[in-house]
């Protein structure tokens, strides 16, 4: 695990009930952070309980990132219970709409499916950034947004996702410039790890998992806690103070064209 300590720090992670968000939350908890676990559903409670059961400190808050007031309440509660906010990871993403083929069509994507993606990924990033700003300014903290290789090289089957993730990379660079003089660092992470969504997809299409693994240099698709947790902890910690505006590909060497 990471040697970075997050003792004395409070980090808020959206979409932390499962998948990558849960892995990052557990890793941050093990590193000593007070983890504010936010989730849309009940699964955030399980993440928080797991952190506490391991000897860590966690607070679970239900939060719909598409709702500005909900995000502001979550941030306010985080500061109320811990006295500070040092890091904010906007990890929540819209549940893929595999049920509607128009979601995967650049030519046919309708507004409601576009909004489904944008409201969580991009509007959610705006909500998190603006709600977290005054506290991150006070702590000279860390904002981490989630991007994707789809936001760098496009994808023919997830146009809304690609657009949002590209927008988030530009938002990351721009906010890094805007907030850098205040001591806030802003970075993006492009992960490639197993998640419940991936697992469900691979259960139906096992050949695709082998194809996905073949795209990696290390030959496997990582685990959210074991493989993605440590680099996230580093980015949330004091040791990353000199890094900002970057996109970190935590992906087993899958994408090397950057």
């Amino acid at each position: 695990m990471s040697t970075e300590t997050l003792e004395g720090r409070t980090v808020l992670i959206t979409g932390a009930g499962a998948g990558l968000g849960r892995g990052v939350a557990l890793a941050a908890g093990r590193a000593g952070a007070h983890v504010i676990v936010t989730s849309l559903g009940e699964n955030g409670r399980e993440t928080a309980e797991a952190i506490v059961a391991a000897g860590g400190l966690a607070t679970w808050i239900v939060c719909d990132v598409t709702d500005r007031d909900a995000v502001e309440r979550a941030v306010a509660e985080a500061v109320e219970v811990s006295g500070r906010l040092d890091g904010l990871v906007h990890n929540a993403f819209a549940r893929p709409r595999f049920d509607d083929p128009r979601a995967s069509s650049v030519a046919e994507l309708p507004f409601e499916l576009w909004q489904h993606e944008v409201s969580v990924a991009l509007r959610g990033a705006y909500h998190c950034a603006t709600a977290g700003f005054p506290h991150l300014r006070d702590s000279r903290g860390r904002l981490i947004l989630l991007s994707s290789t789809s936001g760098v090289e496009g994808t023919p089957t997830q146009p809304a996702y690609a657009a949002c993730k590209g927008a988030i990379r530009a938002m990351t660079k721009s906010l890094a410039r805007e907030w850098g003089p205040l001591g806030i660092t802003v970075n993006a992470v492009s992960p490639y790890v197993t998640t419940p969504s991936f697992d469900a997809w691979w259960d139906k299409n096992p050949e695709l998992k082998a194809e996905g693994e073949a795209l990696t240099v290390l030959g496997y698709i990582g685990d959210p806690l074991r493989d993605a947790g440590p680099p996230f902890v580093f980015l949330l910690g004091a040791g990353s103070h000199y890094l900002t505006g970057q996109t970190f590909f935590i992906d087993s060497g899958r994408y090397l064209s950057y």
């Binding site: 705006y126 657009a163 590209g166 927008a167 660079k173 906010l175 410039r177 805007e178």
Partner: protein, 236 residues
Amino acid sequence: MSVEVQSSTRRESGERLAALNVLVSAPPALSGKLETGLTQLGCAVATIPAAAAPRDREAAAATVAVHAERLGGLDALVHAPHVADLAPRGLVEIDAEVWARWAEAPIWEALVLFQAAYAGFGPAGGSIVAALPSLALTGAADLVPLAAAAEGIRQLAKSAARAWGCQGTRVNCLTLPIDEWGVQAARPVPNRYGASLPGVNAPGELAGAVAMLISPFARGVTGATVGLDRGTVLAP
């Protein structure tokens, strides 16, 4: 000026740039330069006024159909995002409504135009060029929404390039100085070298780069980003 391309297929053989019908959708100043330059190169050009830019799929389809009929067919779309009241402001100074209008709406509006153009091209396909501010590649303080919109559109363009290439439609991007949008960065992006080329983009230079991308000369180019910022941002 006309461009002769020697090749063996019907579409490529003896094709002249003069034969290309181009629809332009861009902010007023940029639109005027593109129209002037492309017309000088021999293209037939129709322009969607910025105030009439379609906001949804139905309006975009109708708008593109009208212009395609007027032009006698559509070969290319050149689109640059238009944000009417854009001004440099810190992110925390703008509310959600402004964020939606400055960052999210331009991406959606680009998509509906791309979709309409794709549907309006002939069976041999066509070409789309997205003209975007180059500062989105490097990030820009106080212009977070515009940078986000531009990079969102660029990734949308790459996605469309991947999806539509097999139907003969190509999608590429041009990156231009932010001045083309009538906006000055409040805090200019530090650049050790500045612009490599002196001057500003003339209509002919803008149109020349567009023409290069939409012409059969570039039939192997899609999903690419060409910098037309006089050599300022030399990012990959």
